[in-house]
């Protein structure tokens, strides 16, 4: 069994290494016909850019994106500087230099990777999946009997912030930086999944398709790990299945198929304000121009946020979204599960959390109000602030850095819910509902708690669960996503997630059940 695991790990690493090398290799040659196509698609009218490109890029052979990308960025920047100086704003190119490099690279790629997409898919994704499964599946036997198996988590380098954890950190952060800021280096990755993308939407894959496909793959493989690890716990099995279903069907398949059907790309479960650009001008315009389905999406998006989400939180707590449906939550609960113990439980972190997450909510709502004001009044500024600058700031700081780079990249160091806990504006909104008007609570079972601290240690949201449990209080916290792990790891059967009547839900106590009733009454009702 150990040998199978080792072979799996080795296979996985080969896949990972090939995947990691891809951005740096490959041949690119842009012919003038393909270049014309890009010009037409992007609607470029800058003759300077065309000249620069024809001089430095078109018809030449490049080995690796590292040599091609700077040429394109230079051409674009030279052109834009010149046009801005001459006040020829119509000629300025608004596609970013890296997106331009990605677009040119995508059509100009040639060589082994492009000619052998299927094989290359197997050598990266294929080996990765196969290796990971070979590594994970032997646990069916190795973990022994059913039950909580957290042995060695704090002895293992990978799960105790050792060098492996730091390597994972570096890899994830770099991956997200490429994805958000240097998409041209993802061009080779897009070839791997072109066949899948063409099958689904009819279009070749972009780097976001790579991300979406990878997201689903990683979640599926790590869900297998969840199924094995928590096979004694039906709540975890059902929840994992749910979150996987919503990711694959709602976040991945349906939007791609909608594109094929000439409909707007939309993830029906992604609620505003997590879906922060829902009310952006380009999105509203695209929806309004898409006929009945566009209008439906518009109404659905608004109803989802204003009615469905809060009503469901009233009945089930915010878990129905955060750990049953949401994609961010889904990744956190599968890929992130080995790192859940790293979320800080200190009072200081809780203070930071409340300030940060609510600030982001205010930011998101403020930005959206500005956006809507600008949309209806057709003015580009609100109180002297440029709407578009605020949107860009949000997209960069919150959308890219907080949710992506930090949110996932920091899994191995700060735990798997950094974004959900400190940054997600939707979580902040659901948190209000959960705290003040919801049937959900984690019930503490009388006086059975022995203060061991398993619940607190494994709470991914950094809630000091034990602080409540040892006092006999129910846990009512806005940040709780109801993952159910505290209840699972409790050795004494103290915690239960339930939806019950509001009366008696919040039950501050001084003396726990088990004591003489007079004393309990005396102290608790004073």
């Amino acid at each position: 069994m150990q040998i199978i695991k080792k072979i799996g790990l080795f296979t996985f690493l080969i896949g990972l290494i090939i995947f990691t090398i891809l951005p740096f290799v490959g041949e690119f040659e842009v012919s003038s016909t393909t270049f014309d196509k890009v010009l037409r698609e992007k609607g470029i009218s800058s003759e300077i850019f065309v000249q620069e490109m024809e001089r430095n890029v078109v018809g030449k052979e490049f080995s690796g994106m590292l040599s091609l990308s700077p040429k394109i960025s230079n051409a674009l920047e030279t052109a834009n500087t010149q046009h801005r100086k001459n006040k020829e704003y119509k000629k300025v190119i608004y596609t970013g230099p890296h997106d331009m490099a990605a677009a040119v690279g995508k059509v100009g790629g040639s060589g082994f990777v492009v000619d052998n997409k299927g094989l290359m898919w197997f050598l990266t994704f294929g080996l990765g999946i196969l290796g990971a499964l070979l590594f994970i599946v032997p646990d069916v036997v190795l973990l022994g009997l059913k039950g909580i198996k957290n042995n060695g988590i704090y002895h293992e380098n990978a799960t105790n912030r050792g060098w492996i954890a730091w390597m994972v950190f570096v890899f994830l952060v770099s991956f997200y930086l490429v994805l958000y800021f240097r998409s041209e280096y993802a061009v080779n990755w897009t070839y791997l999944v072109d066949p899948i993308s063409e099958f689904l939407s009819g279009n070749p894959a972009g780097h976001w398709f790579v991300y979406g496909f990878m997201y689903c793959t990683v979640m599926s493989v790590m869900a297998v790990r969840m199924y094995i690890k928590y096979r004694h716990n039906m709540y975890q099995m059902v929840r994992t299945t749910s979150v996987l279903f919503f990711q694959i069907v709602f976040a991945f398949l349906i939007p791609e198929i909608m594109v094929r059907l000439q409909m707007p790309y939309y993830d029906f479960k992604n609620a505003f304000p997590l879906d922060y650009d829902f009310f952006f001008q380009w999105n509203l315009k695209s929806l309004l121009n898409s006929g009945g389905i566009g209008l439906f999406i518009l109404v659905w998006g608004i109803v989802l946020t204003l009615v469905i989400v809060p009503v469901m939180v009233y009945f089930f707590g915010k878990r129905w979204y955060c750990s049953w449906v949401c994609g961010c939550g889904g990744l956190a609960e599968t890929l992130g599960d080995p790192y859940r113990q790293h979320s800080s439980k200190s009072l200081f972190s809780w203070k930071v959390e409340r300030w940060l997450v609510h600030s982001v909510l205010v930011f998101a709502v403020g930005m959206t109000l500005m956006t809507l004001y600008s949309f209806f009044t057709e003015s580009s500024t609100v109180l002297g602030l440029k709407t578009q600058s605020v949107q860009s700031a949000y997209s960069l700081l919150i959308g890219a850095f907080f949710a992506g780079v930090i949110g996932t990249g920091f899994y191995p160091i700060f735990g798997n819910r950094v974004w959900c806990r400190f940054g997600c504006p939707l979580a902040a909104y659901l948190g209000f509902v959960q705290r003040f008007k919801s049937r959900f609570r984690i019930t503490t079972n009388g006086g059975q708690c022995i203060s061991c601290g398993n619940c607190s240690t494994y709470c991914e949201q950094g809630i000091d669960v034990r602080a409540y449990a040892q006092k006999g209080e129910n846990i009512i916290r806005s940040s709780c996503v109801g993952c159910g792990i505290c209840s699972a790891v409790c050795p004494r059967g103290v915690l239960k997630l339930e939806n019950g009547p509001l009366k008696g839900r919040i039950n501050p106590t001084e003396i726990l059940l088990g004591n003489d009733v007079d004393l309990m009454e005396l102290v608790n009702k004073k």
Binding site: G493, E498, D516
Partner: protein, 448 residues
């Protein structure tokens, strides 16, 4: 300002300190040689197994103590001078007190076995024991086999701990079946099976005779009363615990096995109290033992004594007995009293149900004439403390208990439910016709 000094920073001492602080402004000093800050003793096993780090066993952050003006002294009390109300610490420091709370807990039992003080022989109680185990048994290369002596809760925890590092374990249990002094036959039998499932070499009805030393004073084998010699590197002595009160000798404080206290947790000397594992009731309360070495009783004694010390004199009156434990993968809960086949009284009747394939079972004890519920043990099923406590107080009958059994279930959502199987088994066995009622929130919350 009155100065309260507490010896011991375990659950009972710390609970007392916290509640005294809530109720008053008294000066509070807590003395312990074991650790700088309060930690949960019950979680030590998880540190060795790598589920947690030691800092996770500390329920309060380090700033908590200063903020709440709880003065922590790292020291060992060598003598108590009750006449002058002074404590003498090792290293000759002295601390005066107005009121003294003794909360020094327990130490591992040693029954005078030959070789019991050899290197590699240890108990599992304190932080130091954990550190010692980490040194004695870091892995299976250093510790090729461990022998555990004593089949109680700590013994099985130690077996689980060593198993987590793949160290082979031989488990010597004096009784004919695991923990059968507490558990009825069916349950004890199920745990035997589970221990074997975990590849622990369980030797029932076997006593330790001698621990053999190697040339360097380390344990190298044990010899059992069956004449068997078992080579090993570590011997775990887990044959129960005993109050840790040797330092009270000559203080004039009355001791038996533990510090003798009345219902108000007062000793024979004014202003000296004892709580937790080290306290021994003059007369046992109900069916409880005079010395209760249980986590929650320590906590409850601390809660009650804090009231007394702050001028609202309260007796320690624990309610219905309850407890819980985990045997490897099997959770165990108990409410009320379920005695063993040997210790149960004539009127106590048992109903036992066991799952045909899973390690899940229930035993309910009831009065054979009145059918009144006496107690319940569950294995692999969680129960709602509040409901069972209420049923015991209301002296409910078996018919009632089974009918509303669903109200008492505390398993996580989506878990398989066993009420139907349990009740139909009861119906067949006792010729009744009970049908279970649906779970009702209204009943569960009826006294809120």
């Amino acid at each position: 300002m009155e100065h309260i000094v507490i010896i011991g920073n375990g659950i009972s001492g710390i609970t007392a300190a916290r509640h005294i602080r809530k109720l008053s402004d008294k000066k509070i000093t807590i003395i312990s040689p074991e650790s700088n800050y309060f930690f949960s003793r019950t979680a030590l096993m998880y540190v060795y197994m790598g589920h947690m780090k030691f800092e996770h066993t500390q329920p309060y952050e380090n700033w908590f103590w200063k903020k709440n003006r709880l003065d922590l002294v790292h020291g060992y009390v060598a003598k108590v001078d009750t006449a002058n109300k002074r404590l003498l610490l090792k290293g000759s420091e002295e601390i005066g007190y107005d009121k003294l709370i003794i909360a020094t807990g327990s130490k591992s039992n040693k029954f005078g076995w030959p070789g019991q003080d050899l290197k590699g022989v240890q108990g599992l109680y304190s932080k130091q024991d954990l550190e010692l185990l980490e040194a004695n048994a870091p892995n299976r290369e250093v510790c090729k086999r461990a022998v555990i002596v004593g089949g109680g809760l700590i013994g099985i925890e130690l077996a689980e701990m060593l198993g987590s590092r793949d160290i082979p374990v031989t488990f010597l249990v004096r009784e004919k079946s695991f923990w059968d002094g507490v558990l009825p036959k069916g349950e004890s039998q199920m745990i035997n099976e589970h221990i074997l499932e975990h590849h622990i070499d369980l030797k029932l009805d076997t006593n330790l005779k001698e621990i053999v030393s190697d040339e360097n004073g380390w344990a190298k084998a044990v010899i059992t009363d069956k004449g068997e010699t078992i080579p090993c590197n570590v011997v775990g002595l887990t044959a129960g615990v005993t109050p840790n009160i040797d330092f009270l000798e000559g203080s004039g404080i009355e001791v038996g096995k533990g510090v003798k206290v009345n219902n108000f947790l007062e000793t024979n000397i004014t202003d000296v109290y004892a709580i937790g594992d080290c306290a021994e009731q003059h007369e046992a309360i109900g069916n409880r033992r005079p010395i209760e070495a249980v986590w929650y009783t320590g906590r409850m004694m601390g809660e009650a004594l804090a009231q007394t010390i702050c001028g609202r004199k309260r007796a320690y009156k624990p309610g219905h007995w309850f407890n819980s434990a985990k045997f490897l993968d099997i959770e165990y809960q108990t409410y009320g009293w379920v005695f063993t086949d040997r210790s149960k009284k004539d009127h106590e009747l048992h109903f036992h149900w066991r799952h045909p394939s899973e390690k899940i079972c229930v035993t309910i004890a009831f009065h054979k004439d009145t059918k009144q519920l006496l107690g319940i043990n569950t294995f692999g099923i969680r129960m709602r403390h509040e409901i069972l406590d209420r049923w015991l107080t209301e002296e409910r009958t078996m018919d009632y208990v089974l009918e509303y059994l669903k109200d008492a279930n505390f398993d996580p959502e989506f878990y398989a439910k066993y009420e139907k199987a349990i009740i139909s088994h009861y119906n067949t066995q006792f010729g009744t016709n009970i049908t279970p009622k649906k779970k009702s929130w209204k009943r569960i919350f009826s006294n809120v």
